[in-house]
Symmetry: C2
Subunit: 350 residues, 2 copies
């Protein structure tokens, strides 16, 4: 947070979010599910995927008819361990919650469950879905195609999605292991935050509209694009690019929707769960996870590097602290919430 | 290839490889399977994982008793879609072939199959196993822990494995989509090749024994280590690190063996298959893959960048050409094969 950030209470923020979604037609239970996902994301410090986008990504598209607030999701194909769940252009959060529960149900009976989702919309942070499975002692996997903002290796223009991979696994004590990463060098939200805060971005993140390297985050919003994880060919950009295509294959191709490079206006997702006790006792798994983390933390550090942090560790600590102390939001985000409440004629209440 | 490379015939190389493995006690069928995997890897241009290591990684450890040439693999747990297959310290290729076939069998009946493998040894290139599933119209997944050669973000010494992810998917015509990547910036074999050829490596690949950046590939072999994909924190090294831990979780933890950071002397693997027609008709999937690739190749290129290549494309072309024209091997590799044949008292025959 910075000194300008405004602290808001998590419960109040959840209620405002749910009120806004209900006002535009989302049923109460779905509105509460979505609000919990958005606020949990802010609690965990992933401010690029929290309520900052409530108005622009979700409330407005619902009002404009681009997102269906009452989707009739249905399975268009299935086998004991797999399904395709048509999202009916529903809110990505609502659909993702249903699809991950479907994957979990299948993993309960066969050991593994995978659900591909076409015709969906923006689903927020993948970590939430992956953690749903981890809470049931499963390894959870959530993937989504992203907006077409990434420049392929050797390319000059954005061409494919920031395609996200999230994986979660349960710990014995404390928050789960949670990896949640765009397959680009950074998520678009990071450039957005830098632009909002007026700071520059490191070299190797973006190219401008002419395909030249830039450290000005605004270049991303004026026709530029983000580079794949790895950055350039010598440092493995073909790996970031290849991982993005794996996400496209699992989300876009298995669902029948098509890859991010050809998709227009919808997103595809892929949810999976592996039941740990189908492989070994969950307690043994958790002890092995603990031993892995202890050994990694005990490895030699570079001078001044501080403690090694494991995926999900910082987010888990932030969540615990922010549930007690509140969530710091940038004034522009708070203003967008206030404007939204006024426009929707609902109680602001933060 | 360079001008010093020596061209060898693929069929003769396969026969020599199988002869060597049989001579040290590998049954004929397993020796042929392993030889096909090693030679296919060289055919595909992945010289870091082919016959260059036949003597040092496989033949010698079998003779020294570190690898079991006749493993009694067995399932120690199973559910309809999952299994744990104990490798009995068998040759990683033989065990991996059995485990992937087990995953494919389960995917045939339930739509998805996943097999975790403890107590295994070096299994070569992951792409071969993933392609076994792709050949059956499945999405194939193969992962393995690697030797402990990677330096975690902010670390000064190698601490965990180069942990590999391979994913394959079938194309309508031509070779499959195949991503096969270490979760480090590069595989260790790339540093080995540079050292063998006496060239330097790019900045951002390795740190030396004192944790300082180095462009001398020999620094890797004298106590240094390789960096995670992403390189540094600003460019996503926590993503490469996090992906490596996902590989550890699926290979090392689900198998009960433990993560790469604590494993000594054995490797763990994870094999998976998703049956495409459990989701949608395979022909539709292949058409979507084709459309994805066409659209990506049509995207604007930087000046002088050449055509965009999709994972597996260059390897597929090389394989076709080298099957006809032979495989170029470095003289040091040819010498190691000649020495091995002499030591084993088998016909060299290349």
């Amino acid at each position: 947070m910075t000194e300008q950030d405004i602290i808001v209470d998590a419960a109040k923020l959840l209620n405002l979010t749910a009120r806004a979604l209900q006002k535009v037609g989302v049923p109460e239970v779905d509105a509460r599910i979505t609000a919990d996902m958005l606020v949990t994301t802010d609690l965990r410090g992933i401010e690029s995927h929290g309520v900052a986008h409530l108005a622009a990504f979700y409330v407005r598209p619902i009002r404009d008819g681009h997102i269906n607030p009452t989707p009739k999701t249905r399975l268009t194909s299935e086998s004991p361990s797999t399904a395709v769940m048509d999202a009916d252009r529903g809110l990505g959060f609502v659909v993702g919650h249903r699809a991950m529960n479907e994957a979990i149900r299948r993993a309960e009976s066969t050991g593994a469950g995978f659900v591909a989702v076409p015709n969906s919309t923006h689903s927020g942070a993948g970590s939430y879905y992956a953690m749903m499975a981890a809470a049931r002692d499963m390894v959870g996997i959530a993937m989504t195609t992203g907006g077409n903002i990434v420049i392929p290796p050797g390319g000059s223009k954005r061409a494919y999605g920031s395609n996200v991979i999230a994986v979660a696994a349960p710990r014995g004590d404390g928050p789960p292991f949670v990896l949640d990463m765009a397959t680009s060098v950074v998520a678009a939200g990071k450039a957005e935050i830098a632009a909002r805060r007026g700071t520059s971005v490191p070299e190797g993140w973006i190219l401008d509209a002419e395909g030249r390297p830039s450290t000005d985050p605004r270049a991303f919003f004026t026709g530029g694009g983000i580079l794949p994880l790895g950055g350039d060919l010598e440092h493995g950009s073909y790996k970031g690019f290849g991982l993005a295509l794996v996400v496209d294959i699992l989300c876009g191709l298995l669902s029948g929707a098509g890859a991010s490079v050809v998709q227009k206006g919808t997103f595809s997702q892929f949810y999976g769960a592996l039941r740990i006790d189908a492989f070994l006792p969950a307690a043994q798994f958790k002890a092995l996870l603990e031993a892995m983390e202890q050994a990694l933390k005990a490895a030699p550090r570079a001078e001044g590097a501080g403690e090694l942090r494991i995926a999900g560790e910082i987010e888990g600590e932030l969540e615990r602290r922010r549930r007690a102390e509140g969530i710091p939001l940038h004034p522009a985000v708070v203003q967008s919430l206030r404007d939204m409440a006024k426009e929707l004629e609902i109680d602001y209440g933060l």
